[in-house]
């Protein structure tokens, strides 16, 4: 199949959420979130009510895609880490296994050094989880709930 799906199951989601929740605390961060490279939000933790995570996810993925394009031009594999410094808030962006993006937003209560340290540990853990997830998705035994949807199901979505 040309277009492999990304699938998130409860087991892996809980593992990812645990890592993200812990990273918020250990890095003294405001918000931590994980986005796939196509801009879909996977998990978020911290003061997420205050921000538009959907928009942030899409822009972060765009940012990573553009940086990846620059890397290619310079014959670099990837620029795996990005850091943007603002007046009050900073944002640390880390590519995890060239698959997903780990974003940490923090203010003066934390520091770049602490964030980098904690992100490194979380990246390794996340890598393992996503590795397992990919293997699970590729397993032919894992069936999709969409095999059973009917044309009527699809049509009914569009009957306004």
């Amino acid at each position: 199949m040309v277009n492999p799906q990304m699938v998130m199951y409860e087991e892996e989601f809980v593992q990812i959420q645990t890592i993200v929740d812990r990273l918020v605390k250990e890095a003294n961060a405001k918000v931590v979130f994980i986005v796939d490279k196509n801009g879909q939000l996977i998990a978020a933790s911290g003061d997420v009510e205050e921000i538009d995570t959907t928009s942030l996810a899409s822009l972060t993925a765009g940012n990573i895609a553009a940086t990846g394009g620059i890397a290619k031009l310079l014959k670099e594999n990837e620029f795996a880490t990005q850091f943007h410094e603002g007046e009050n808030q900073n944002i640390h962006i880390q590519l995890v296994g060239n698959r997903v993006i780990l974003v940490v937003i923090f203010d003066a209560k934390s520091s770049l050094g602490l964030v980098r340290l904690r992100v490194r540990k979380a990246t390794d853990e996340l890598n393992n989880v996503f590795e397992a997830l990919v293997n699970k998705t590729q397993d032919p035994a894992s069936d999709s709930p969409f095999a059973e949807i009917t044309d009527d199901d699809i049509d009914s979505l569009f009957n306004d």
Partner: protein
């Protein structure tokens, strides 16, 4: 790449509006944004130049409703149409589930349409997609203008494969939702097929 989240009971799909510069891709998104119930849409983001030409992309998240207990969410993107932004166009096609080609019906843009269609095919191929296999619809936009090419001729030039196509005047919203519905349906049908393990 469809993203199926069992935890949140959500399916997320990515739709890209493609076409030559000034054909009306952003106008399509703006109309959808204006006419959609606030509960069903997120913020529309436009990364544009000072003269309001798309620089990188426009983005609009939409919820279409539930299918078998799963919320269906569509992320709509436009590409920058101007020829020299090709590197950016390639990036936006990554992970695409369905494409809408917006053609500019005016005589003087016929060549630009053809060039953009070739460019779409090439850029998709670079990502490992075949334009003849992915969910794809065509919109003939700006039908309200006086200097337009006949739809039959446009169809012959741009749609030899006979994918669903629609006449539109995106500025007034004519044909905008019809086009979006057609591609969304095609994406979900594709999802159904792949779910069946074929």
């Amino acid at each position: 790449m469809t993203f199926i989240n069992y935890m949140a009971r959500e399916i997320n799909c990515k739709i890209v509006y493609y076409g030559p510069g000034l054909c009306g891709k952003t106008t399509n998104l703006q109309h959808i944004y204006e006419r959609t119930n606030p509960d069903a849409k997120g913020k529309m983001i436009s990364l544009a130049t000072e003269t309001e030409r798309t620089l990188f992309f426009d983005f609009l998240p939409l919820s279409l409703g539930e299918i078998r207990g799963f919320k269906t969410r569509f992320h709509l993107y436009t590409v920058p149409g101007q020829v020299f932004y090709d590197a950016s166009r390639k990036l936006i096609l990554k992970g695409v589930d369905g494409v809408i080609f917006v053609a500019d019906s005016q005589f003087e843009r016929l060549e630009a349409n053809l060039e953009s269609m070739d460019n779409l095919r090439e850029n998709l191929a670079e990502q490992g997609y075949n334009l003849d296999e992915i969910p794809f619809v065509i919109q003939y936009n700006k039908r309200d203008l006086p200097n337009v090419v006949d739809v039959d001729e446009l169809r012959q030039e741009l749609n030899p494969r006979g994918v669903p196509d629609f006449e539109a005047n995106a500025r007034d919203g004519v044909g905008v939702f019809e086009t979006l519905k057609a591609v969304s349906k095609s994406v979900l049908t594709e999802l159904k097929k792949s779910g069946a393990g074929t």
